[in-house]
Amino acid sequence: MTAISVQNMNVWFGTGALRADAVLDVSFDVNEGEIFGLVGESGSGKSTILRAMVGLVPTWSGTMQIAGETLGKKRSQAFFGNVQMVFQDPYASLHPRHTVDRVLSEVMRLHGIADVDERIVQLLDDVGLGAGFRFRYPHQLSGGQRQRVAIARALAPKPTILLLDEPTSALDVSVQAEILNLLADLQQSQGLTYIMVSHDLGVVGHLCKRIAVMKDGEFVEVLSVEAMRRLEASHAYTKHLLASSIQSVS
């Protein structure tokens, strides 16, 4: 079954002479239970694709089907029960005057999740924070702690599809490992579908089977993780990306 189908997506900002095209004729399908990776140059349009999917950028054309729903301008309440996004910039997605407890309980009440109390404790535990962080405000958290609250909030309404924009780039490697293991476990036990944006090929390669490479708003190629490991890229940009990543780990 196809969980996500995007055909001929274009996304732009501004009009007339000020128009900037951020995404150009992008098409891809993601199956239920698949983890699809998105890598590419900074500013190439990765976040914009995810933001258009959740309805944050109105200026797009093409067709999008997610979780059986054909998307128009607005997203229904049920859509956000199914589809959640972790934003690249955790500060922007957390209300500065709401405690962690409030952030998590509001999203659960909105989507009719029972046992809110128990689940908050469980979620905080899952993301490696623990109940001690429950009544903190965003400014009382470190960068990585804020990012983990954002991940907990996305998981809270029990979505089936998660759009993850650099979910672990603010995290140190040990916490990153915990989060990646958690995402892998959830995917296996509940068959979740993810799209994962990351600039770290090690991270993408760890979770994803198929990976799209972006440059200047376009998909330059889609390749399997095995091909990526064997450095079998056809496009010059992918080759360049792989070469610089390999150099940097050794």
């Binding site: 900002f13 900037a20 890598v39 590419g40 140059e41 900074s42 500013g43 990765k46 976040s47 690249q88 910039d89 955790p90 500060y91 922007a92 400014h139 009382q140 470190s142 960068g143 990585g144 702690q145 983990r148 924009d165 650099e166 780039s169 603010a170 995290l171 140190d172 490697v173 040990s174 916490v175 990153q176 490992a177 915990e178 990646l180 293991n181 892998a184 600039h199 770290d200 090929l201 090690g202 991270v203 390669g205 760890h206 990526m228 490991r229 360049h240 990306l241 610089s244 990543s245 390999i246 150099q247 940097s248 780990v249």
Partner: protein, 286 residues
């Protein structure tokens, strides 16, 4: 002996609360010369607060205490707020971990960069614009003239980081504290940005504190490394000797890095030993 750029002895950052005070930084000591000093450590270990304490940017009710905190021999622990404002941005700059949050949302990025430059250097408006665009170009921003007029919410995550870096480097500080400056950048852009910082250290004798959770990056890029755990320094070494690190925490961090070429089903996670927290902080003075 020449006076180091920065000299910090027994630095504490404490948050008083009704129940029990929380000590986020617990007695760290280090010096910074004209070098690249890396600070690594897990999330919440006190890296950012150490950086912010040096600029005296800890929000109340937080308290900063130290036996000594000097910049070029000048006592900055007790300097007036007016003096600190002079030093911040001009002498000692910090690239914050949340770049977009640190930018003014209602002013174009170019305008705020130019104004920041003009606050510390005597240059005309048009000169500031030229220098700003040149700096944006240096941090590998494409089409810098278009980006000059964008607002912070209109730039991508990686562009935001590079804008912040460019803005902090413009006034040519003596000391730069870079808090996870390249965490949103792919390796090829990362290398370009690091080259710029590197040049400033080599050619202009800047001192750089480079906070990062990326051990491989720090090992390659820095001269010395401080490894923090629970507000203390558990180990310090030459960057080239990180692979020979001895502390089990450092080894644990090294082992949890996913690697494209050597896939594993599950990643190792750290098993934390309560004794790590109690061991006294190691001095990283030179």
């Amino acid at each position: 002996m020449i006076e180091p750029l920065l000299n910090v002895e027994n630095l504490w950052v404490r948050f008083p609360s009704r129940n029990a005070d929380f000590d986020a930084v617990r007695g760290v000591s280090f010096t910074l010369g004209q070098e690249r000093l890396g600070i690594v450590g897990e999330s919440g270990s006190g890296k950012s607060l150490t950086g912010r304490a040096l600029l005296r940017l800890i929000q109340s009710p937080g308290i900063v205490e130290a036996d000594r905190m000097t910049l070029h021999g000048e006592n900055i622990l007790h300097a007036s707020e007016a003096r600190m404002r002079q030093l911040r941005g001009g002498q000692i700059s910090m690239i914050m971990q949340d770049p977009k949050f640190s930018l003014n949302p209602v002013m174009s990025v170019g305008q705020q960069m130019s104004e920041a430059l003009r606050a510390h250097k005597k240059v005309s408006k048009s000169q500031a614009r030229i220098q700003t665009i040149k700096m944006l170009d240096e941090v590998a921003i494409r089409d810098p003239e278009r980006v000059f007029d964008l607002f912070p919410h209109e730039v991508s995550g990686g562009m935001g980081q590079r804008i912040m870096i460019a803005m902090m480097l413009l006034p040519n500080p003596k000391i730069l504290i870079a808090d996870e400056p390249t965490s949103a950048l792919d390796v090829s852009v990362q290398i370009q940005v690091l080259d710029i910082m590197d040049k400033l250290v080599r050619d202009r004798g800047m001192g750089l504190i480079f906070i990062s959770h990326d051990l491989n990056l720090v090992a390659k890029f820095c001269d010395r490394i401080i490894i923090m755990y629970a507000g203390r320094i558990v180990e310090t070494c030459k960057a080239s000797e990180l692979r020979q690190a001895k502390h089990p925490y450092t080894l644990g961090l090294l082992n949890s890095v996913p690697n494209l070429e050597h896939p594993r089903d599950r990643l190792d996670v750290l098993k934390r030993d309560p004794a790590w927290r109690d061991a006294p902080s190691v001095s990283a003075c030179q």
